[in-house]
């Protein structure tokens, strides 16, 4: 399978992948992370030093001031490792109805992050936390030793300050990616199961659960190759192509900015080095929202977002 296969797939279904109205700004603050998850499409980890500098943080905030975004979504790496994160939260929260910060939970549990949960609560930041499974073995096989206990402890702490608790207005979403070269379970049934398991065994509550297929890029792709799973996984993804997902793909309505300030249509194209508009555009040059109809560059990784119920 190569890049053209996904293009051909779209052509076979008489579809084009082009931008729709842009409603979300995703900010990738860099690749530094205290975990080195085996499914990471960015190969983030403790040895990575790529991080957004103060000037780029400022350019992101200025962009959010001049353009109307419904959602701003801060991701990484681990956003908690960015020294300017509190400044970003305070500056961005008033600028969009929804501000999301993604977390691996372990970074949020560090002593250095102690003040962040209260800052999030104050600004009603939506917390989007990774938890691949409701058991220690699958969670740690994907994310590393010790992650399960720390994740549970952090989720309990977030519940304690109101996150995920019905009626609090504080949204705590969980993200589940499969712990291997297989597709995710259906979202509705997985959410039911998570609610039951986490509440009964650990007294943990949350708002929504989202299941996503692992994207064959970065560290996950390297593992697929080493383990002899790459061909069968790519076939599985392409065999599960669902043309109905294309209209709602996030790359149509989101613009992603990397730690250097350059723009992509999604975080996966960022990892693959496929620039928005197929050229290097800096966020400081973004004077208006991307034009509807602009083509989105594609690769074989795009099959991960169109498999089954899709990745929107």
């Amino acid at each position: 399978m190569n890049t053209c296969d996904f293009k051909k797939e779209l052509e076979r279904h008489n579809l084009q992948l082009t931008r729709a109205e842009t409603t979300a700004l995703q900010v990738n603050i860099g690749l530094a992370c205290d975990l080195a998850c085996r499914h990471c499409h960015l190969e983030a980890g403790p040895a990575r030093t790529e991080m957004m500098d103060e000037e780029t943080v400022s350019a992101v905030i200025q962009c959010a001031r001049r353009l109307p975004f419904n959602t701003i979504d801060i991701t990484g790496g681990a956003p908690e490792l960015l020294p300017f994160l509190p400044h970003m939260i305070e500056s961005l929260a008033p600028l969009a109805p929804h501000l999301i910060v993604r977390t691996n939970l372990v970074s949020l549990a560090r002593p250095e992050s102690k003040l962040l949960p209260e800052l999030y609560r104050h600004h009603k930041v939506i917390i989007s936390a990774s938890l691949p499974a409701t058991n220690a073995s699958q969670t740690e096989s994907q994310r590393g030793s010790g992650v399960w206990a720390t994740s549970l402890s952090m989720l309990k702490e977030l519940n304690r300050i109101g996150y995920g608790v019905e009626g609090s207005g504080l949204q705590l979403d969980l993200i589940s990616n499969p712990a291997g070269a297989f597709l995710p379970a259906g979202q509705a049934q997985t959410e039911r199961r998570y609610r039951q398991d986490l509440q009964r065994r650990h007294g943990i509550v949350f708002t929504n659960l989202y299941t996503f297929a692992n994207v064959p890029l970065g560290r996950f792709r390297a593992w697929l190759e080493q383990s002899g799973n790459l061909d069968s996984y790519l076939k599985k993804l392409s065999g599960s192509f669902n043309s109905c997902t294309v209209a709602g793909l996030m790359c149509r309505s989101q613009i992603s900015v990397d730690w250097n300030g350059f723009l992509y249509d999604c975080d996966f194209n960022l990892a693959a080095g496929l620039h928005h508009g197929e050229r290097r555009i800096h966020i400081s040059e973004l004077k208006q929202l991307p034009a509807c109809g602009t083509a989105v560059p594609v690769g074989d990784h795009c099959y991960a977002c169109t498999a089954g119920s899709g990745f929107t």
Binding site: A133, N135, S137, Q138, P178, G180, F182, L183, P184, A185, G186, Q189, T190, R193
Partner: protein, 110 residues
């Protein structure tokens, strides 16, 4: 090495309908309906199928339902417990026939 069981053959399962399409059609319709969500979830049905696959020792079914169990959200701990359930029943079915043995032996013995 050539073997009787080839992983790729599973994808040709549908070919079984070539010389008896009506019967195959009925079987595959039934098969699909059985595994759809009902009083039992798809996940629970996949766990049952995985256990039975080991009891009937079908390598195709073991391959399919290991993947299906993972994709329906089960983990290795649950899948292993399911195998112990089928093993207990299979072993128990042998052992319980020991009662027949005992009755016959007692009848024949002084």
């Amino acid at each position: 090495m050539e073997t009787y069981y080839n992983k790729a053959d599973l994808a040709s399962f549908g070919d079984i309908g070539k010389d008896a399409p009506e019967l195959a059609g009925k079987f595959f319709d039934y098969y699909g309906a059985v595994f759809a969500e009902g009083a039992l979830t798809e996940r629970e049905k996949a766990l049952i199928a995985l256990a039975v696959a080991h009891a009937v020792q079908c390598p195709y079914c073991i391959d399919s339902y290991t993947t299906a169990c993972l994709e329906k959200g089960s983990n290795l701990e649950e899948m292993t417990e399911a195998l112990h359930v089928v093993t207990a029943i299979r072993g128990g079915a042998s052992l319980v026939h020991g009662i027949q043995m005992r009755k016959i032996a007692e009848k024949l013995s002084l």
